[in-house]
């Protein structure tokens, strides 16, 4: 009897906490289905006539479509660039002993420690000088900093998990070291690469502060559009903002759910097993 009470109370606590975590997402979804008058009704309406008006206006809004494209371009390019430079680096860190390996590893990790705003201040000057402000290449380069530590450290632990015997066997069979990397190590860690690619995409897609400070109207990712686009002179267009918010989070939720297994192993590998 006492056991049952304990179990039930556990589930009860979990449900209450789950409510806390789900509610903001639930509420922004509800708000996105309301007319603009209903969104600011006092008291707030829980029963109302749902409408898709916000979505139709948001999805035909040329600015938002532009933001969608910008976000996609920036995320795809910066993730690919990060993977191209980060994955070989992680392999070297995992497999070779060379001078300065530890120092350079910690150096990469320090990009995660650094608050973005600190690097943005000199960036804005340098980018201005190089005419990179408000352009795709500028933001793509800046977004490398967002993800590089994640890519390197998660991939390093993935490479460490490949048994070294496999690679040695390939070497004995006549593979060169480059071939071992291309034909053995990378394919064997493809699930890890998928995981970091998806995670980096989500982080780049959601990233606000670099995009907010380094771009203006030429390149405007979705988070920036949400932060600035719906706040009018007198009032905020909550309905439109909510619909745009839902449009922003749907791709990331789908990506995260469809690759949940990869993500969990990827994330926990990167942090728990040092």
């Amino acid at each position: 009897m006492q056991r049952k009470v304990v179990v039930i109370s556990k589930y009860f606590i979990l449900c209450v906490i789950a409510l806390f975590f789900l509610f903001p997402m639930f509420w922004i979804f509800i708000q996105s289905l309301k007319t603009s008058i209903d969104t600011i009704a006092i008291p707030p309406k829980i029963v109302f006539l749902p409408t898709l008006e916000n979505y139709s206006s948001v999805l035909t809004d040329i600015n938002l479509l532009h933001s969608l494209k910008d976000g996609l371009v920036v995320a795809l390019f910066s993730v690919s660039l990060t993977l191209i430079i980060g994955v070989p680096f992680a392999y070297a860190l995992a497999r070779f002993k060379f001078r300065g390996a530890n120092q350079i590893g910690f150096f990469v990790l320090s990009t995660m420690i650094l608050p973005p705003i600190v690097i943005i201040i000199p960036f804005s000057k340098i980018f201005n000088y190089l005419h990179l402000l408000d352009t795709y290449p500028g933001l793509i380069l800046a977004h490398i900093l967002v993800n590089i530590a994640l890519v390197v450290w998660v991939m390093r632990s993935f490479f460490l998990r490949i048994p070294i015997e496999v690679e040695e066997a390939a070497m004995i069979d006549g593979c060169t070291k480059m071939q071992v990397i291309w034909k053995i190590a990378f394919p064997l860690s493809s699930s890890g690469i998928t995981a970091v690619a998806i995670l980096s995409f989500i982080f780049s897609w959601n990233e606000l502060i670099f995009a907010l400070s380094l771009t203006a109207s030429g390149v405007r990712t979705l988070p920036v559009f949400i932060a600035t686009g719906y706040v009018g002179f007198l009032a905020t267009n909550w309905g439109g903002l909510s619909a745009a918010g839902i449009v922003t989070i749907i791709p990331t939720i789908i990506l995260a759910l469809s690759s949940k297994k990869y993500l969990v192993t990827g994330f926990s590998l990167g942090t728990v097993s040092k």
Partner: protein
Amino acid sequence: MQLKQLYKKIQERVNKTAILPYILTLPLTVILFLLLIYPLVYLFYLGLGQSNFPYVSLHQVRVFVSRPFFWQSSKISLIYLLGSMGGTLIMGFLIAILLNSINKGCSIFYVIFIAPLAVAPIVAAKSWSMILNPLYGILNHILGYVSIPPQEWITSMQLALFSLIMVTIWRWTPLAVLILYAGLQTLPKQPEEAAAIDGAGRWQILTYITIPLLKPVLSITILLQFITCFKEFDIVYGLTKGGPAECTETLVIRTFLEGYRYMNLRHAAVIGIILLIVALFVTNIGHKILICQQER
């Protein structure tokens, strides 16, 4: 033909000498140098240089640091940091323990608890600002049912920082859950079972067995939470932008405002340097503690 030979020669060279690791690490090192080292040097130049270094500039930094707003911001940063770190850790630990102890429905709860990580923080912040709105926010409405008078969650000086900490806990607890839960699952079961046979209660098992075994994972979590909460910008920007009356202005927000609203890049650079030093200092200590634990 010649090209092929040359390629082979290069490859032989690569295989023979220990040059391969350097080839693999070179691109990233170069890019990081351009994206990190050079800008950071330039940051110091922006903040301290430009005038008779080091005499005048250090004096200027001293004057700058002695301004009240700097200490005000530091104090707010500290409260915010401690509040959100404590909150996320306690909450994350509680959730991880509960998740680990139930049998059914674990995976559904798990998905719910890590979902906020995938949501764009600015969207979450905007959603929270609708919920917390004093006039048409749902929270005050719900609290009305249990006859708690409506509160000005993000517009009053007393509650704004508290609300920010609450939203930050919402945002970053999932990270703690992710790591702590993974850590709990890798723990061996035998010590707990042995203690249970010896007659230890739940609480005793938790405090004397589980927490000590979990210590390395706990310290990584604490370090990560420090890093993420210290950097947090999106939530504060989306909810209060440092207001009302600068009472939620953390150092990160202040740097942003100095640089992009007051157009005072020099001040921004000085705060940036201070942030950089604090971040490096704390993580260095954290790193040392972690290494000590691994050696033991």
